[in-house]
């Protein structure tokens, strides 16, 4: 198998790593030993032999001076001077700085003590000179008796120490050799590692280059086959299988990815129903060319086959890897005879943003081009629209379920595009998030809505503003900007409510602290999102005092079991002392039910008013006040 080669390379890395480690350890060890030996050699000099040599030399000089005195070559004073120098060596050796070293020489202390005793014994004779000249031959004899022992001792000690030093020098050379060898090993390991890295880099570069060339040539070949089929008027379909999700595996490097791609290609050629062509078209995409069929679910069957084949795990380094592909399909156009576009169409079918139906096959249809073009254009123009404030604010009144009196306005933003019409709030929010402009859009919209609201509040001081925001977007800067906007418009208090959309069960600690921060600053929170999450948050008493029921939930209340559900829910709310806001009330029947079970609730929806622009909202509010009056 091809991936065995990769394993081998893996071992190479381990091998080099071990070699590096051992070389480094060896280098440190040998350097330490070398330093120790070097220090030992320099500390261990021939000092004890040297001290003996000095004594030997003074002994020889004294005997020579004595002989000269006999021959009247020197006078008594000169003889005594030499005697004193000779005498002064003994205290140094026997009880001075050289004693410790002398004691290392076997027999030296005894010999030198005897010698010193003899030297002290002859002192009165020398002092009595020239009267005691007759004793000079005896003195000479006594002194010469020590010549042989001291010479033997000096020679023996000198050779012993020389031999010892030679041994140490030899050892030092060996250690130096080891030191050099470990250095060489370390250098070699580093060199090999660098070579391997360079080879890998070059191979990766070659593989990337090869990948794009292969993709291009395969694409051309495939288009040629498609053109041939079109000329023969044979209907065909082309599946594009995108496996780019394999890049999520962080442990994989480029050569391994190419091996995996090869493995996937092998698997795709072994489908239960063999395709006409299987080609790698680059960028982690494969194309499968098959005969087309009009049968319903035909695409799904093929997608199922492909998925099943790709579910075969790729085994590497003791682990199994699998890839979840994105599959798109396009059918041939019987009218078209040349330049088949199906490959590009199939690619296009998987290009839009992922939908909830991730597992199904994306079938190309003509609207897709329009959709992709629209998305690209909108993304391009978004920043300009944001700068020029091309977004329109709309409001929906929120009324009390019992009196139907407006109590709040729910804000929403949409983009009125010259070419593509209205871009609704959900799509706009998703687009802003993908472009990283969500915070700017939100703050800009909030400021505009606060200004609108301030005007209307002059007519009705009870009217609140409800503004939606996704909980996960909360951060320090956004919180600060919200607080600043509210303060500048003096909107803190019950006149402003933040509708907080919860989509995650676990909120990060920071987001929770931001919510608390907003609450403690006087911002009222309405919890939106799946009901169980909202209840959980409210029961934990750190998110809000309002729960928003979604339009889908309100629509389901009129179905079987809805009343029982409402009854249980109302009990739960009263236990938690929490208010409720019901969105999307579309009929009188729903309103009646809500009045019966949730009498204090706030309601909104098309039964009262749709989302209205600024002018229409003013008219609405005007009518409402006239009715009240």
């Amino acid at each position: 198998m091809a991936y065995n080669v990769r394993r081998y390379r893996h071992r190479w890395f381990w091998g080099l790593f071990l070699a590096l480690t051992f070389s480094l350890a060896g280098l440190i060890g040998s350097a330490f030993r070398y330093q120790q030996s070097y220090r030992l050699i320099h500390e261990h000099s021939l000092s004890s032999a040297w001290a003996l040599v000095q004594l030997q030399e003074e002994h020889r000089r004294f005997i020579n001076t004595l002989r000269l005195y006999q021959l009247q070559g020197v006078n008594k004073q000169q003889l005594l001077f030499r005697y004193n120098i000779f005498w002064s060596r003994f205290p140094v050796l026997l009880s001075g700085s050289e004693t410790e070293r002398l004691d290392q020489v076997p027999g030296a202390r005894a010999l030198i003590s005897d010698m010193f005793a003899e030297v002290q014994r002859i002192e009165p004779m020398l002092d009595a000179l020239p009267d005691s000249s007759v004793e000079i031959p005896n003195v000479l004899g006594w002194m010469e008796n020590f010549s042989t022992p001291i010479n033997v001792m000096v020679n023996r000690e000198f050779h012993r120490q020389s031999h010892q030093q030679l041994n140490m020098v030899t050892r030092l050379r060996h250690e130096y050799l080891w030191f050099a060898i470990t250095w060489a090993l370390l250098a070699l390991s580093v060199l090999l590692l660098m070579l391997l890295l360079v080879a890998l880099y070059r191979q990766n570069r070659w593989l990337n280059h090869h990948d794009s060339i292969t993709g291009l040539s395969n694409r051309e070949t495939l288009e040629q086959v498609m053109a041939d089929l079109a000329e023969l008027h044979q209907p065909y379909a082309i599946f594009v299988v995108d496996v780019s999700s394999l890049l999520w595996s962080e442990r994989l490097h480029q050569p391994l990815i190419h091996n995996w791609l090869k493995f996937i290609a092998d698997n795709l050629t072994q489908l239960e129903t063999s395709p006409l062509e299987v080609s790698y078209i680059g960028r982690y995409q494969f194309a499968l060319l098959t005969h087309s069929s009009d049968e319903s679910e035909w695409h799904e069957l093929w997608a199922k086959m492909i998925r099943k084949q790709l579910a075969i795990p790729y085994h590497f380094a003791g682990e199994d890897y699998a890839v979840i592909p994105k599959i798109g399909v396009a059918h041939s156009d019987p009218k078209q005879e040349s330049s088949p576009l199906e490959l590009a169409q199939a690619e296009l079918s998987i290009s839009p943003r992922p939908t909830r139906e991730k597992q199904s096959v994306a079938v190309y249809h003509e609207q897709l081009v329009r959709q992709v073009v629209r998305e690209r254009e909108l993304q391009t123009e978004f920043s300009t629209a944001l700068l020029q404030q091309q977004f329109e604010l709309r409001y929906q009144p929120v009324v009390r379920s019992d009196s139907l009196r407006p109590v709040a306005l729910q804000a929403q933003v949409r983009w009125v595009h010259d070419k593509w019409g209205w871009i609704e709030a959900d799509e706009l929010a998703a687009m802003a998030t993908s472009l990283g402009e969500a915070e700017t859009l939100l703050v800009q919209t909030l400021k505009a809505s606060l200004k609108d609201h301030k005007i209307w509040q002059q007519s009705d001081g009870q009217l609140a503003l409800m503004f939606p925001i996704p909980a996960e977007m909360l951060n320090e800067s956004l919180c600060l900007q919200i607080m600043m906007a509210l303060r500048s418009e003096r909107m803190l208090g019950p006149s402003f409510m933040l509708i907080l959309s919860l989509n995650q069960r676990v909120l990060p600690q920071k987001v929770q602290s931001f919510i608390q921060q907003l609450r403690s600053s006087g911002v009222h929170i309405v919890v939106d999102g799946p009901l169980e999450l909202s209840l959980e948050r409210v029961s934990m008493r750190y998110s809000g005092e309002f729960i928003k029921l979604s339009a889908a939930l309100v629509a389901s209340l009129t179905q079987a079991g809805g009343e029982a559900y409402l009854e249980a829910f109302s009990r739960c709310l009263s236990a938690m002392r929490c208010l409720v806001m019901c969105d999307g009330v579309a009929s009188q029947e729903q309103l009646q039910l809500l009045r019966e079970y949730l009498p204090d609730s706030y309601v909104s929806g098309s039964a009262f008013s749709p989302y209205l622009g600024r002018v229409a909202m003013e008219n609405y509010l005007h009518r409402q006040y006239q009715q009240v009056v």
Partner: protein
């Protein structure tokens, strides 16, 4: 009796004078020779110094320990710098030679700041050949901790007899 007293006092006087002459001879014997070349191509010079010559110079005294004695001793003698200065020696490269011909080369500029002395007295007693004399180049080791290094120990030459000034 009169003659006896006369000859007795004369003998004592002669003996005292002889002793003084010996003492004089002891102080007047050469204990240090300083030699070297004068400025290039102008011949050699040789200065022979007796203890009396050294005593004419300002004397320094300090107490210090060293590797050759068990406990701190008090040493006395003139500064080596003063001796060199007196004889107009400017070169700082000195070869110090002991009685047993042991010799060491020393760069005086590197040790001048330690103020070494040519000690002739050890614990108040004049040093003899038998106890490291007649001169011992002594450093105040207790005053400067860096003097405990082996290289400075090797400069502390005893039984110093000659200083060769190298150019």
């Amino acid at each position: 009796m009169k003659y006896l007293w006369k000859w007795g006092t004369t003998l004592i006087g002669v003996l005292l004078l002889t002793q003084m002459a010996w003492a004089q001879a002891d102080d007047s014997s050469v204990i240090l020779t300083i030699s070297g070349l004068k400025t290039p191509y102008q011949g050699k010079y040789r200065v022979k110094l007796t203890r009396a010559d050294l005593l004419k110079l300002p004397q320094q005294t300090f107490t210090t320990a060293n590797p050759w004695v068990d406990q701190p001793h008090q040493y006395r003698g003139p500064l080596l710098a003063d001796v060199l200065k007196k004889y107009g020696i400017t070169s700082t490269r000195l070869v110090l030679v002991a009685l047993n011909d042991y010799r060491i080369t020393m760069d005086f500029s590197s040790v001048e700041r330690f103020e070494p002395i040519l000690a002739w007295s050890d614990n108040g007693e004049t040093m003899t050949v038998r106890n490291h004399g007649p001169l011992w180049l002594m450093f105040p080791i207790d005053r400067f901790s860096e003097l405990e290094q082996p290289v400075y120990n090797s400069y502390m030459i005893w039984q110093l007899r000659r200083i060769i000034v190298a150019n």
